[in-house]
Symmetry: D2
Subunit: 395 residues, 4 copies
């Protein structure tokens, strides 16, 4: 463990870290086989914000809530959004990234902005423009774009023409952005497109963002890579290029499983956070959004989000404990084992006491999960949220 003076610096960074939780993590979700409904699940966006506020109360570092349009759309236009933002503030949280959804309308069967039909492309683009309007109203910085677009069969559509259409759509959205707003482009290897995905990897997202300009940035979703991909390399590369805009944290064992961050490979999460640190991404002005993007299909949702926030924090804390001087020295000297040992030493450290102390200094409980259990919130929402329609993935 570092000296106490250094520990203060570590704690300062951890105190400043902001982890954004997604509104849809609080709603019902499932696989194509079955959505298992859970009691107490929110029925409105305000109830989602209530749940997110609990996560922030118990962790102290999760004040931002990402929205999904149209799932979280409210009535009343700009005024309606202002009221929602005020409601969020009253609960102690803020509205965050706006996520567009151009994959759940029958029109999008063959794609949205890359659809061969110009009318469908127009429809999709109008939705994206509406999302920027919402950002104007909510004061959100980031528009996150993930496209389900792609093809299932070789020949189904022209791979190249779809890139042309994609570039055209991105340009129109980018030009619509206001000052201080960003376009965050997410990539994903496969699903729901099964043969070719239009933004399948970081290279594709990077190339498009490069052409768009400085305010177009790449989102790394930790679950969206082929087996064997070194994700921390991508993180380091994008940071070096100034093109890392956001993370979607979650875990996968095989494909895009959307399990809790840190659940499948905590060592990988640590290595990713170490590269974020090494590339300056933990600095307050680095502009990297640390989001969760997860679905809790079989486990209770609020404690699963709390657990995930804690896991990102634990990985960050360990990354901050790496003795960078010793590491640089071993690397310079070609000391393979020594350099690896410096990294592993930080990883093997049990940072839970440090984080418990940190939470207490933020006015939260040292053990967020125990505090949540003791709070009675779980029982309360089961009792109160009766009637109405539960929000679901897509609802």
């Amino acid at each position: 463990m570092p000296e106490p003076a250094d520990l203060t610096a570590v704690e300062d960074v951890l105190r400043g870290q902001r982890i954004e939780t997604p509104s849809w993590a609080y709603a019902n979700s499932g696989t194509r086989f079955k959505v298992f409904a859970q009691p107490g699940v929110p029925r409105t966006v305000r109830e989602k914000l209530d749940d997110a506020a609990r996560v922030h109360r118990h962790t102290g570092v999760a004040p931002l809530v990402a929205l999904h349009i149209p799932w979280d759309r409210v009535e009343g236009g700009a005024e309606g959004w202002a009221r929602l933002a005020a409601y969020a503030r009253e609960q102690g949280v803020r509205l965050g990234t706006v996520n567009a959804n151009v994959f759940q309308d029958d029109a999008y069967r063959l794609g949205s902005v890359t659809n061969p039909d110009p009318a469908v492309r127009r429809k999709a683009l109008d939705h994206l423009r509406e999302c920027v309007e919402i950002m104007d109203a909510t004061g959100s910085r980031d528009l996150k774009l993930w496209f389900a677009d792609g093809t299932n069969y070789p020949g189904q559509d022209s791979l190249r023409a779809r890139q042309d259409r994609l570039a055209e759509a991105l340009t129109e959205v980018y030009e619509r952005l206001g000052t201080g707003q960003r376009l965050i482009l997410e990539y994903k290897l496969f699903e729901p497109a099964f043969y070719a995905t239009d933004v399948p990897d970081w290279g594709t997202a990077y190339a498009h963002c490069l052409r768009l300009g400085d305010r177009a940035q790449v989102c790394v979703d930790t679950g969206h890579h082929a087996p064997g991909t070194n994700i921390e390399f991508i993180v380091a590369f994008l940071l070096r290029e100034g093109k890392l805009g956001a993370f979607d944290f979650n875990s996968r064992f095989y494909a895009d499983d959307d399990l809790m961050a840190g659940a499948a490979d905590p060592f990988q999460l640590f290595r990713i956070l170490y590269e974020v640190r090494a590339g300056g991404g933990l600095a307050p002005d680095a502009g990297i959004a640390f989001m969760l993007d997860q679905c809790h299909n079989i486990e209770p949702k609020i404690p699963a989000v709390i657990r995930s926030v804690m896991s990102v924090q634990e990985a960050t804390a360990k990354a901050l404990l790496v003795d960078t001087e010793a590491l640089a020295k071993a690397q310079r000297e070609g000391d393979v084992l020594g350099a690896n040992e410096v990294l592993m030493d930080a990883y093997h450290t049990d940072v839970r006491p440090l984080l418990a102390r940190l939470r207490e200094s933020l006015g939260a409980d040292g053990d967020p999960l125990a505090a949540y259990r003791a709070s009675g919130w779980a029982e309360r929402i089961v009792a109160e949220r009766v009637g109405g329609e539960q929000a679901g993935w897509g609802a």
Copy 2:
């Protein structure tokens, strides 16, 4: 191409091949992101049989229709099933494999026959027993079991205890089977369980079937393997052990994508069929069920099934064209390139004229897709199947 005399033998085998189509392939389906509804989709099991009958009419080799319980459940107990079987016969098809479904009830959130709760296990077992009852009524030979059972997080449940529960359940079902009935156990690497699946690979299915007895056999679903798996090796191995009971044909590029058979890797499908041939699996009494198990999410369903049946046929025809004497000679002599060339020679042959001729000899059209398009069936079902509720994956 072989001599005409040999061609007759090839055509005889092809004429005797039976490809079973799944009732759910005719219904709506989708990914966890969206089910795109299609006009004209069946609303009842009878309408599914109507569609399957069209596939058989145009291909001449698809007289069997696999059922899924409870999706295809009918009223009236044994009598109701007898009426359904009679209806099928009138359309020129027969009821085939019964597929159990123990994954779409809220009770199965943590598993069915491997659930830690004995009451849930009982419920699942009762369903499996009901499926055997249905087989008694329909005269179906095979009960196909696929379990969505598994866990999403390390520690969630005891991997070993779940195997004990699985073995117990399989034993009870096996003992319930009547004479001439078989239990077909399917394996799948992942999804919907994301950390550990209870029957994840052929080894697990094989080990359980071995303990059960001769009438327990393994089903190879071509989409259910890890990347890099040599599926034809598994086919050859199971045939050698007398444990290959059935295929679920479909295609995948990345995961269990459920695309049309032969769409992703027609060479692999050919190699699989070659091993079936080499292991004696094309013989009429080999007892191997050649089923499709696919979902047509964005393409029209009936022609997609026709295309898949044709692809399995094409792979079979090419497998039959392999000059086994020349192959054995090259193999014996260690002639790596020569042996490979013999195989590739058959693969590169265009078997479409041969199959067109075969279909005509069976009273069907040489070009099934053109004949289907010309038949007006697609337009008719769109016009007639109005009102009611479309069948969907899970409905």
Copy 3:
């Protein structure tokens, strides 16, 4: 099959295609477990050219031979190279791409141009500069760079610093290039680096080439991707960006197996060539080098190269047979099955007769493998190439 008039156009393109074979494919090679020596293997670069000339004689489309430095280094500086080039011409072939080798010296244990030690980086750069000198002498257009650089353990070296060093090295080499010379950067997912590779994917190669300038282009080695990667998408994307410089053709079932092109997934090879055609890459001035990069560990080398050249040709021929008008129409209409069918129709066509005719028109035999066997060359080299040291992968 298209009309005869169109066939002429198809044959014209095929007649103009040039496939480059690698000098090391004629030498002994193996896995880390064992190199199985074969009789008759070349002992000198001239003997490698002799073998390459046989491949060209029998196929008519393989006049270029890629060199590997230092494996193929000759005495006598520029004059020595001129003599070698003259020797090649006398055999009917030409010296092609120069491949640098900065991975087989003890100094490169921790990397070459990305090594933490500046002295090692200098040594590697000097080798790369020497390769450009050789290109000046041989008249080769392309310098192909593949780096074995990377790390085996997390922390071993700074991922970011290695990119800085890589960029610096590439810039120095790029600036050294003469008019008409190109730098071709190859990427590879893993091996021999096992944790992080410094140029692991097309995105990394693309980003570096973009900064370097127009004469820096990406090489797609078909064996160098993670499972599930859609290679033809990458091909289409790079062509659209004007950044596809070369192919290294070979086959893999699992990793970089270096099997004969088309041996593992001929349908994939067809799809790749189709995207090349669709992106204009078959045009004579497109500047794409169609190279083989293979090792023939257990099969005889010359016929294996002939077989691979034929497979690339077959894939190209099928790609050229795709009815692009019908395809575009089906794509425009959103006819998923129809569009796929157009592609598959070309793929299923047996193009061997067409190619046999083409070869005869080029003065070669219609059946190159039979002609090679009949030529007695295999027996002759076994008899003549006695004594001396056989060339091997690395020798």
Copy 4:
């Protein structure tokens, strides 16, 4: 952390654990691209034993050394082996598992025991019988069989015939075994065979061992699986079937990378050891050999082995710290998050102080790597091992 009384039980198990190190880990090794020679590497099997003895001295739990025949063959027949065993004992270690090698002779180009040529099969079998003879002389319990056998191209040989030949060979070896001797069959997905491997997965190894009898057991090499494979599931399954005989520990990021155990995914190693514990595999009479099987290509070998032994110990210690009562309770109650938390709680514990104490109680230093560095052994072998031929992978 558990109560002190429980800690004693934990320490007792750890004190009894035996980790076997492979003689070849001390020798030079590399990839197919390059073997980087290191100074001080052993030139004889005795020098390998010397190095292994250092590992045992510093860790206290590595008294067994696995041999590889013919790499470690000694002169003098049974007497020679007896002398070697005595030499080992003098250094404080014992001769362990005998590893057969039937992949490095030119005869084995197309396989060893599955070769189409009966003469080659005979030669391979004679080697395997010789290995049992050596076991008779050394008193080794286990014969470990890994076959490089397989094919590179579809059609190259009959997949089925190769299984027949494999079964025949295994039977002959099994029948040759003496009382108390075991046959341990290792599987591997790919490499050096690139199309089909004859023992590619645990199912194949299991099926063969089942037919052979009780003394045939499966070896799980942690690097030999397809991406996405759940290794701890296999471990749990084989233990339940009484068929887990040994581990080959090492790490891989993508393929069979042979990195230090625990280097790529320490959480996976922990999960594996937890299943070993849960299945009774840590009991002294469980008969499971905990071997390392690694190659240290770029890092110094002895400290890399020490680090690996420590990593296996750390994973074992964490596995022993799992509160099994709390875990069983949470599992029974279907408490997904609670059960996962019990497991993670043990994983996050820093067990290094506990293991330091344990080593001291065994008479070793608490920090083995520091003690090794301080011992001067590294400098001594560099100075003394001059001249002669260094042992290498294959030498």
